[in-house]
Subunit: 132 residues, 2 copies
């Protein structure tokens, strides 16, 4: 069981927005959406995003410069993330596959490097887009 982080005011506003949206959101779109709540500057958004990423409540989809709420309740620290991304409709979902995460968490090669973290992004066409 992990320590429950209590979010600060800005962190909560921004997390709630991302979580409710259910899809990746971009920083400036977040900013636009929270201006009525008094968050006026990019930096306020980025600071909250940084913290939320750090504690694993959200993840950054690197290839899209966007942020999505963690869909995997057991993933409290963002050290092992995997996503599937539809290149047509841009739907993103977090992959929760214990075989995959075990395989990658235990991966090592002959470089002498110890990997403490990974991020994997799969691309393709989702069911809907495939059948069009």
């Amino acid at each position: 069981m992990q320590k429950e982080h209590s979010l600060s005011k800005n962190q909560k506003i921004i997390f709630d927005l991302i979580d409710k949206s259910g899809e990746p959101m971009k920083a400036y779109s977040i900013l636009f959406n929270v201006q009525k709540k008094g968050i006026k500057a990019p930096l306020q958004v980025y600071r909250a995003l940084d913290k939320l990423v750090e504690i694993g409540k959200i993840h950054k989809i690197e290839s899209r410069n966007a942020f999505i709420a963690c869909q995997n309740s057991s993933c409290q620290i963002s050290k092992a993330t995997a996503f599937s991304i539809c290149e047509s409709c841009e739907n993103v979902s977090e992959i929760s596959n214990s075989k995959l995460s075990k395989y990658l968490s235990n991966f090592s090669d002959d470089s002498g490097m110890k990997y403490s973290k990974y991020n994997l992004e799969f691309f393709g066409l989702c069911k809907k887009c495939k059948s069009k």
Copy 2:
């Protein structure tokens, strides 16, 4: 055996620079370095980068917004890329591990999605940085 792409003038200038550097380069650093060769505008750089990525001569390190020459001669199309990134010295190298690439290329889950491409980034400390 794959078709050899003949690079255009700008593509060649930019590929040669990235290839010689041996490490990830950022777009505006590339721009700065090729201005003496007549490439003056960001768009000229980004267009060449796009093409070089498309044909697999370079890869984008998404978490760093940087571009590195393909270190794996057999990787002509960027559909299956894996990198190790040192979070201390920022050294990046392309992982060439057939088991890993087979595992990931064949990965499928119950989402009904067909994955045609992936990008994996491992993070940690390299040998040098570990021993400091």
